[in-house]
Amino acid sequence: MRLVVGEDSMLFREGLVRLLADAGHEVVAAVGDAAAMEERVANLRPDLVIADIRMPPELESDGARAAARIRDTSPEVGILLLSQHIELRDCMDMVGTPGFGYLLKDRVLHLAEFDDALRRVADGGSAIDPEIIRSLVTARQSSALEVLSPREIEVLALVAEGHSNASIARRLFLSERTVMAHMRSVFTKLGLVEDGATHRRVLAVVTFLGAQPDTPPARAPMDPPGCARSSGRMGVPGP
């Protein structure tokens, strides 16, 4: 895979470049500021750009803004944002869209998972840090998600992180068929339209989670609300 790395800390950048090289990737450029990163991406057409959110010149979310511009000009380039902490101000629009990932920086220490996330994003999938999904899920917990069982919420979170059914099954020690059953149930209860393609269901879930609690997204009237309510009451009480 051909990669461009944008990261202002030289220590972290060099470490990351070596790790990526060890993993068999070709780092075609490694730069320290957002403008240079944009320029290299435009010239070199990599498969994926790994960008620190906070970079010069302003040391605010320059990386995220540069990524949004890259998304506009070169939509085929995968984008993986790295950050020390969760900061969604300038990238919430991209979360859940195909070919986008957002991870905390310490995830690079788990090489296998990090490599998996890189490949998912480069292939047009999604990789959202579990921390972000957890905050989104808990943010909606008391209202919309109370109709779901704890297991369903687990599945929902992994879907949102960008995992495939197979990956979810492996992590939760379930069969893929059970995972699919849970997913159907979740989509029915939340009034979302089930779609075969993985990346579209990620977006649907993330959009649902990211929406403000007071303004639920327009629901497809697949299920009478009363039904969802009753199953919520019959289900396991919320955490």
Binding site: L19, R54, H85, I86, E87, V108, L109, A139
Partner: protein, 682 residues
């Protein structure tokens, strides 16, 4: 003989015409380019004023010139040399003439100039006539008989100028028939007096051959009554003018009043001297007479040309107060002397000693009371305004009113709604809302040698400046208190801002410094791991896990310093908090305005501390957080369903400090068993 009368009637015609064509006169000539001082007159034409003044000058100059010529040439003949001896008396009315010319030059359309000049001219003419008859020189003059016969009745000429001055000062004849009738009536009265006194003769101070009975006595009585009526009318005209006039007119009339008060003071002083030291009455009245001839024209000229030259209100009030004090003291002195010498029936020196003692005792308190009373009467505006500011200062000292009201109080006292107060702050100036201004104009107020404030007013006259300076001195203490309070608040706000900025910097340092290096070290370890056997590789896994734990701790630490989710706004930060809270938490955030960093962090920390308190002490199982905009202030409310009973004074001290340091308020309600509610207004 009636030349002056003719000129004066010309003057009156001029004034009458203006008064008729412009009812409510008093606003005309202000735009005339030749008018130096802003001054409103129902004017006369400039050329007319000059001609009239020239006439008065001639009327004054002829007898003076004659007397001067006689004095220099030393012509023989008793009458002539006697005439020359009157030169000083004839010269004195020249003060009026000079003052008249001054007024005419500076304010050519004012009727006061010619009137003032004629005040001197008439006195001069009357005096010359008097000297003429006294010295017997009329024998040599043509038509000598009739002049001599008419002269005793013409003494009214002496007062004619003053009468006209009183009628037209400071801005022309008053509107109305009555006032236009005064001078003709005076002329009729003069005619009656001439007829009544025809052929009488002055011998020393007495008239010889005057009428004692018959129709001439009746004529005399009527004439005198008419003269008195005219003089009373002139004074009434001035009083009416003062009562209905604007501020500038009153100021001008006050100058005349000041001259009057000065004359009375001189009279009183002369009287005291005459009684106390037994001097001649000539010496006693001399200063007062000279005062009349000099003070009145000087005051009138100043009133027209530079009415705001000095603080006439204060001068008037003080001179009147001293006059009353001196007269009263003299009366007290005299009464004590009389009383003591009555009791002891001999002159022992005791009477004088006792009188001096009692007078000294009475003098100061008497003067204080008289000053207050006179100031209240004469200088009412300043007195009331000063009293208002002083009362406010006393209220501030007693803690009844907030010093920040001072600007409103000054506006009220100075009767200027546009007045602005600027407080010295560092090198610049700030108003009471804290806006800065580099260098505003205005009256500078100093306190203990430092400039603490500038007061700017839309009133720009020298008098208004003096008045404002007086008011500001009375307001010095409230102004300084204001300034210090404002400075304290600003200082506290700066401190809070610095603290908040420091927290932000610290959070960044943790994220971008320590955390970053630890992860980089972890990455090195991972690379080394590739070449190791299974046992050593497991060791590296443990080391990396340690590093990850440390990074997580640092992240939590940075979060405690300043949650980075605040970059996304208050709501995401609170939602993240809810995710981390072990008990259910309801979050209700209304529409909010844009919050600055201080508000953001303060609101967040209030919620954190209140929720932490609920978890630690209240044994709560549910907590509700509400954030709303309430009339421009941020209202943060945290309530739980715990045991309540929080010690209201000591509970949440840190929280209270935090909120109050940014100028907010905290209300804590914690009934026993009824849960705890913390409400912070930011």
């Amino acid at each position: 003989m009636w030349t002056p009368r003719g000129s004066l009637s010309g003057l009156f015609r001029g004034i009458g015409a203006v008064a008729d064509s412009a009812p409510g006169f008093g606003v005309g000539a202000g735009t005339d380019a030749t008018v130096v001082v802003p001054c409103e007159h129902a004017g006369v034409k400039a050329a007319q004023a000059r001609a009239l003044t020239l006439g008065a000058t001639v009327a004054w100059a002829i007898p003076v010139g004659l007397a001067g010529y006689l004095a220099v040439r030393g012509i023989d003949g008793q009458g002539w040399s006697q005439f020359a001896g009157f030169l000083p008396e004839l010269l004195t009315p020249g003060v009026c003439v000079v003052a008249g010319w001054l007024v005419v030059r500076r304010v050519p359309t004012s009727p006061t100039g010619p009137a003032l000049a004629w005040t001197g001219g008439c006195v001069s003419l009357a005096l010359a006539l008097d000297v003429f008859t006294l010295t017997g020189l009329y024998d040599a003059a043509p038509g000598e008989r009739s002049i001599a016969a008419a002269a005793p009745g013409l003494w009214t000429l002496d007062l004619l100028g003053l009468l006209v001055l009183l009628l037209v000062f400071p801005d022309g004849l008053r509107h109305g028939r009555v006032w236009r009738m005064v001078v003709p009536v005076y002329a009729v009265a003069t005619l009656l007096l001439v007829v009544a006194l025809w052929g009488t003769r002055k011998a020393g101070e007495r008239l010889e051959g005057g009428p004692t009975s018959g129709p001439r006595a009746v004529l005399l009585g009527i004439g005198l009554a008419l003269v008195a009526a005219c003089l009373v009318a002139a004074v009434v005209s001035l009083v009416l003018r003062y009562r209905s006039g604007d501020e500038v007119l009153r100021l001008r009339v006050r100058w005349l009043m000041l001259a009057g008060a000065g004359i009375v003071a001189l009279l009183a002083a002369g009287w005291v001297l005459a009684i106390g030291f037994d001097t001649s009455m000539d010496l006693a009245y001399g200063p007062a007479l000279i005062g009349i001839v000099i003070l009145v024209p000087a005051a009138v000229a100043v009133a027209i040309i530079r009415y705001d030259l000095f603080d006439v209100d204060r001068l008037l009030s003080q001179s009147a107060a001293w006059t009353i004090t001196v007269v009263t003291s003299a009366v007290v002195f005299g009464l004590v002397v009389l009383g003591v010498s009555e009791v002891f029936s001999r002159s022992s020196g005791l009477d004088l000693t006792a009188a001096a003692f009692v007078t000294a005792l009475v003098l100061l308190p008497l003067h204080r009371h008289v000053s207050t009373a006179v100031a209240r009467l004469v200088d009412r505006d300043r007195f009331v305004a000063l009293a208002e500011v002083e009362r406010f200062a006393a209220d501030v000292r007693a803690g009844r009113r907030a010093p920040e009201e001072i600007e409103a109080v000054l506006r009220d006292a100075h009767a200027d709604p546009g007045l602005r107060l600027f407080l010295a702050e560092g090198a610049g100036w700030v108003d009471l809302s804290g806006f800065t201004y580099p260098d505003p104009d205005g009256v500078t107020l100093t306190f203990a040698g430092d400039a603490i404030a500038r007061i700017w007013s839309t009133k720009d006259s020298a008098r208004a400046h003096r008045r404002l300076a007086d008011l500001s001195r009375a307001a010095a203490v409230p102004v300084e208190v204001c300034r210090l309070r404002l400075g304290l608040l600003a200082g506290r706000a700066r401190l809070i801002e610095a603290t908040v900025a420091e927290r932000r910097r610290l959070e960044r340092d943790l994220h971008d410094g320590a955390q970053q290096r630890l992860i980089a070290t972890g990455m090195r370890l991972r690379r080394l791991q590739g070449g190791l056997d299974a046992g050593r590789s497991a060791e590296v896994d443990v080391a990396v896990a340690e590093l990850e734990g440390t990074v997580a701790e640092l992240r939590a630490l940075a979060h405690g310093v300043r949650p980075s989710r605040l970059d996304d706004g208050l709501v995401p930060a609170l939602q993240a908090m809810r995710a981390a809270t072990p008990i259910p938490m309801d979050l209700d955030v209304g529409p909010l305005p844009d919050l600055d960093e201080v508000q953001l962090l303060s609101a967040y920390l209030v919620v954190t501390e209140a929720v932490t308190n609920s978890l630690k002490h209240a044994r709560a199982t549910h907590v509700g957080v509400r954030v709303a905009d309430r009339n421009g202030r941020l209202c943060v409310e945290v309530s739980d369903n715990g045991i309540g009973d929080a010690p209201v004074v000591t509970a949440l001290t840190a929280l209270r400090d935090r909120v109050e340091s940014v100028g907010g308020t905290v209300t804590i309600s914690s009934p026993s068993g009824g849960g705890t509610t913390v409400e912070a207004m930011l």
